[in-house]
C-alpha cells in the first residue's frame, strides 16, 4: 500500500490543552522550526479540554500556597502521585494561568475588586479554582486555538495517528504514521521530535463523559512501541452522568458536581434517598463514594426505568435551581428533561484516566524523540485526580514539552530513518477490516462497553476482572475478523469506529490487568475482595507493558522524594 | 423561501431592501413627471389628471407605503447601529411596519 511522506521538525499529536500549548511554546522558543499539529478532529474543536466546566487549580489566591496545592494533590492522589511531577504541576500552574490571562487573553472570572475569583472544588483545603463561569474549557481552548492559527503552524486536521514509527534500530522515534481521514490516504510524517497528546479518554465504559474522538489511540500506540503505562487501573468515575437510554449520545454526559453540593437529592428507583446509608455526608460525599453507592444501588436492582437513579432538585425551588444552574438546566431542557422541576435519571460515568505513559517531569519518555503530555501521561495524579488538576496538567506539561522539543529539534540537523517494515505492517493492520467478511461492529462495541462496565467498573473483584479479560480476548479476535460494508476510505466513519474499537480493546486489556494486579483499594480503584487501602509507607504503583507480544504488569514502590506519608509541607498540619 | 429566511428580522431586511429598490426605480419616473412642468403647467396637469383613476390612487397608496416603510425601517436601522443595543428589535420592526401602513392609509383616506 502506498503512502505519502512528509518531514517536519516538531510534530504534535492532538490539539487539546497539551497539544496547543506545546505548539505555542515550540514556536516561541524557536521560530525557525517547522511545527506541525496532526489531530483527529478539527483544531481545538475536539478532545476534552474544551469540555472543562469547573475550572483550573492554581495557588494564586492570597493565603494559598504551592505547597498547599501540592499537599492536596498528593493526599487526593492517595500518596501514589509521582511527587516531582506533582510539584512541577503546582509550581508551573501559576505561570501558566498568568500566561493564559496576559499573553493569550483568557477571561477568568473576577471578584468585584478586580482580582481573580477562586472557587471551591471538592477535595481541596483552599478555594483555588479559577474559572470562566461554568464553561472554562471553551475559553481556554478558543484562546489557544486563535493564537495557534495566527502563527501559521502547519495543520493536519482530521488526521488520525495510527502508529508511532521508530528507527530501524529501535533507539529513537522517527515519525508517525497517520490516516488522512478526509481522503483515506496514509501519510508518514517524519519528525525530529514528536509529542503524544491524544488525551487518553476512558470511552470503553458503557457510560462515559469524554468527547467521541477520544479512544485511547495514544496509549495503544505507546503500548505497541513497548513503552510502560503506569496507574492504568485508575479510572475516575463521575457520579452523575445523564442517563437517557442506550441509543443517545447524551447518555453519560456530565451533570455538574455543584448540583449535589447545592443540596440536590439522589433517589433510587422507588423515589427514596439512599446516600445517608452510605456516608454521613450523604449526597455531598466525594465523587468516588457517591459513584460506588449509586453503582451498588444499581446492582441491587433499585433502579429507574433506564437502570440508574434519579437526581432531584425541585425541593430547592425550581426558580432557584434555574437561576443557579442556568447552563445545566438549559442543556437538560434541550434534551427533553426538566432538571429544575422534575427528576433526571443519572448514572456514574467514566470521566478521566489517571494512568498513562511513564514520563519524566520534563515530559520525556524512554524513547528518544518521543514526548508525552496531558491525559496521555501518567504520574501527576496517582490514584485520583482532583477536579481542576486535569486542565492544569495538560496545559502545564504541554508547554514544557513545547520548550523541550524545540530545544532538541533545534540542535538536531537530521531525521532518523523510519522502520519501513513497521510502517507497512501498520498499514496492513489498519486495512484489516477491508479484507474481512462484513460483520457487526456495533454489537462488538456494545459488548465491550458492557464488559468493562460490569467487570472492571466502579466496583471490582478478581472474578469479575478475570471474566472480563476472557471476554476482551474474544472481542479482540472477533474484531479482527469483522469487515466493513463500505470500502470507500473517504471520510469513512465506520472504518474509524473499527480503529477506535481496536485501541479501546487493547487498552481495556491493560486496565483489566492493572486492576487485577492492584490488590488493595485506593482512590478510584476499589476492589471488593481487597477493600483496604494498604500501608501508605509501602505504596506501589503499577506499570504495564507489552513484552514479546505478552502484556505484563509489575509493581513499583512509590518514591516519596518530597514528602513522606505522615509528613506535610505545611507548617500547621 | 428558504427556511432560515423565515424569521421576522430577515423579513424586515427584505422589506427595507425591496422598498428602497421600489423607491429608487420610481424616482426617475417621479423626476420625469415633475420635469414636465418645464413645458408649462398644462403639461403637468395633463399628467396629474391620471391620478384621479382609482387604480392610480391605489398605486400612489403603494408608493407612500413604500416611502413610509423605508423611512421608518431606516430609522430603525439608524437606531440599531447608533444607539445602545436593545433587545426589542422585533418589536421595532413591527412598529415600523404598522406606522408605515398607518401613514399610507392616512394618505389614502385623504386622497379619496
Amino acid at each position: 500500500m502506498e503512502f505519502q511522506t512528509h518531514k517536519t521538525d516538531v510534530l504534535i499529536l492532538g490539539s487539546g490543552g497539551a497539544g496547543l500549548f506545546a505548539a505555542l511554546h515550540a514556536c516561541r522558543a524557536n521560530p525557525e522550526l517547522e511545527v506541525t499539529i496532526a489531530v483527529k478532529g478539527l483544531l481545538g474543536k475536539c478532545g476534552c479540554t474544551r469540555m472543562v466546566q469547573g475550572g483550573y487549580n492554581v495557588a494564586l489566591s492570597p493565603g494559598d500556597s504551592i505547597e498547599r496545592h501540592f499537599m492536596d494533590t498528593i493526599i487526593g492522589g492517595k500518596w501514589l502521585p509521582d511527587q516531582a511531577m506533582a510539584m512541577r504541576l503546582c509550581e508551573t500552574a501559576v505561570t501558566r494561568v498568568q500566561e493564559l490571562e496576559n499573553e493569550l487573553g483568557c477571561f477568568f472570572d473576577r471578584n468585584d475588586d478586580g482580582s481573580l475569583h477562586h472557587k471551591a472544588f471538592a477535595g481541596q483545603t483552599f478555594d483555588r479554582t479559577v474559572h470562566k463561569g461554568d464553561l472554562t474549557g471553551i475559553e481556554i481552548i478558543s484562546r489557544l486555538m486563535e493564537q495557534v492559527r495566527a502563527l501559521r503552524v502547519q495543520l493536519m486536521e482530521e488526521h488520525r495517528a495510527i502508529a508511532l514509527v521508530p528507527s530501524r534500530d529501535g533507539d529513537a522515534l522517527a515519525g508517525v504514521l497517520m490516516i488522512d481521514m478526509r481522503s483515506g490516504e496514509f501519510r508518514l510524517v517524519q519528525a525530529k521530535t514528536v509529542l503524544l497528546a491524544t488525551g487518553g479518554g476512558p470511552t470503553m465504559y458503557r457510560y462515559h463523559t469524554p468527547s467521541g474522538d477520544k479512544s485511547m489511540d495514544g496509549l495503544a500506540m505507546a503500548l505497541q512501541l513497548g513503552l510502560g503505562l503506569r496507574d492504568m487501573e485508575m479510572v475516575q468515575f463521575h457520579p452523575t452522568g445523564l442517563l437517557a437510554g442506550r441509543d443517545t449520545r447524551m447518555t453519560g454526559t456530565v451533570l455538574e458536581e455543584g448540583l449535589r453540593g447545592a443540596g440536590g437529592f439522589l433517589l433510587d428507583g422507588n423515589g427514596e434517598r439512599f446516600m445517608k446509608s452510605y456516608d454521613t455526608d450523604a449526597e455531598r460525599a466525594t465523587r468516588d463514594i457517591v459513584s460506588r453507592a449509586i453503582y451498588a444501588e444499581m446492582r441491587a436492582g433499585r433502579t429507574t426505568p433506564n437502570g440508574g437513579v434519579y437526581i432531584a432538585m425541585s425541593h430547592l425551588g425550581p426558580e432557584v435551581v434555574a437561576q443557579k444552574f442556568p447552563g445545566m438546566v438549559k442543556r437538560c431542557a434541550d434534551c427533553g428533561f426538566d432538571l429544575a422541576g422534575g427528576r433526571v435519571e443519572v448514572v456514574p460515568t467514566a470521566h478521566y484516566l489517571m494512568g498513562g505513559v511513564v514520563v519524566t517531569p520534563d515530559t520525556r519518555t524512554g524513547l528518544a524523540g518521543l514526548f508525552v503530555a496531558g491525559e496521555d501521561a501518567g504520574g501527576a495524579h496517582g490514584a485520583n485526580r482532583l477536579g481542576g488538576n486535569g486542565v492544569a496538567n495538560s496545559t502545564v506539561f504541554g508547554g514544557i514539552a513545547g520548550d523541550e522539543m524545540a530545544a532538541q529539534a533545534g540542535s538536531q540537523n537530521f531525521w532518523v530513518e523510519p522502520d519501513t517494515n513497521l510502517v507497512n505492517a501498520a498499514i496492513e493492520q489498519a486495512m484489516t477490516p477491508f479484507q474481512q467478511a462484513v460483520g457487526d461492529i456495533n454489537s462488538i462495541r456494545d459488548r465491550l462497553l458492557d464488559v468493562m462496565w460490569d467487570g472492571v467498573g466502579v466496583l471490582r473483584d478478581a472474578n469479575g476482572i478475570q471474566q472480563a479479560q476472557t471476554e476482551l480476548a474474544a472481542l479482540k479476535t472477533e474484531l479482527m475478523a469483522t469487515g466493513l460494508v463500505d470500502d470507500n476510505r473517504v471520510f469513512n466513519l465506520s472504518w474509524h469506529d473499527w480503529l477506535n474499537l481496536q485501541s479501546l480493546i487493547e487498552v481495556s486489556e491493560v486496565i483489566a490487568a492493572a486492576a487485577l494486579s492492584r490488590e488493595n483499594s485506593r482512590g478510584a480503584h476499589y476492589r471488593e475482595d481487597y477493600p483496604e487501602a494498604g500501608g501508605l509507607d509501602d505504596s506501589y504503583f503499577t506499570i504495564a507493558r507489552v513484552d514479546r507480544e505478552a502484556l505484563q504488569v509489575e509493581r513499583q514502590p512509590v518514591e516519596f522524594s518530597i514528602v513522606k506519608p505522615g509528613e506535610s509541607l505545611l507548617e500547621n498540619d | 423561501m428558504k427556511a432560515h429566511r423565515k424569521q421576522s428580522l430577515y423579513m424586515a431586511f427584505l422589506l427595507h431592501r425591496l422598498s428602497g429598490l421600489g423607491l429608487a426605480l420610481f424616482l426617475p419616473f417621479h423626476f420625469y413627471v415633475l420635469g414636465l412642468a418645464l413645458k408649462g403647467n398644462a403639461a403637468l396637469d395633463r399628467f396629474l389628471h391620471w391620478s384621479e383613476l382609482p387604480l392610480v390612487k391605489f398605486a400612489e397608496f403603494g408608493l407612500v407605503f413604500l416611502l413610509a416603510l423605508h423611512f421608518f425601517g431606516g430609522l430603525r436601522l439608524l437606531a440599531l447601529e447608533n444607539l445602545p443595543w436593545s433587545n426589542r428589535q422585533k418589536n421595532y420592526a413591527a412598529v415600523a411596519l404598522a406606522a408605515a401602513f398607518f401613514v399610507a392609509c392616512g394618505y389614502l383616506l385623504r386622497a379619496i
Partner: protein, 111 residues
C-alpha cells in the same frame, strides 16, 4: 476603505433625508385632499427659496443614498463587481442627480 466611506455617506444622507421625507409625507397628505393640480403645486413652489433648498438638498442626498443602495443590490443579488459595477453606479448617480435637479428647476425655477 471604500466600503466604510460608502457606509458613512449612506448613513449621513439617510439622516439628512429623514426630516425631508417626513416633511414630504406631511405635505403630500395635506395637499392630496381634493386632488392634485399643477397650479396648486407650482404656486407653492415657484420662486420659493425654502422649497428650492429643500428639494435641492433632497435630490443631492437621494442621488448619493439610492446609488449606494442600488450598488449593494447589484453587488449582492446580481453579482456585479469591479469596473462594471463602478461605471454603472456612476451612471445611476449622475442620472438621478441630473433628472432630479432638472425637476427641481421645473417646479421651483432657476435661482
Amino acid at each position: 476603505m471604500v466600503e466604510l466611506r460608502l457606509y458613512m455617506a449612506q448613513r449621513a444622507t439617510a439622516a439628512i433625508m429623514a426630516p425631508l421625507v417626513l416633511l414630504h409625507l406631511g405635505v403630500m397628505i395635506y395637499a392630496i385632499q381634493g386632488g392634485l393640480s399643477a397650479d396648486e403645486i407650482l404656486e407653492r413652489t415657484r420662486g420659493s427659496l425654502f422649497w428650492g433648498v429643500t428639494y435641492g438638498l433632497f435630490v443631492i442626498t437621494v442621488s448619493v443614498h439610492a446609488t449606494i443602495g442600488l450598488r449593494n443590490i447589484l453587488r449582492e443579488w446580481f453579482r456585479l463587481r469591479g469596473p462594471v459595477l463602478t461605471v454603472l453606479c456612476w451612471l445611476i448617480g449622475a442620472g438621478l442627480l441630473f433628472f432630479g435637479l432638472r425637476a427641481v428647476v421645473a417646479v421651483v425655477g432657476l435661482p
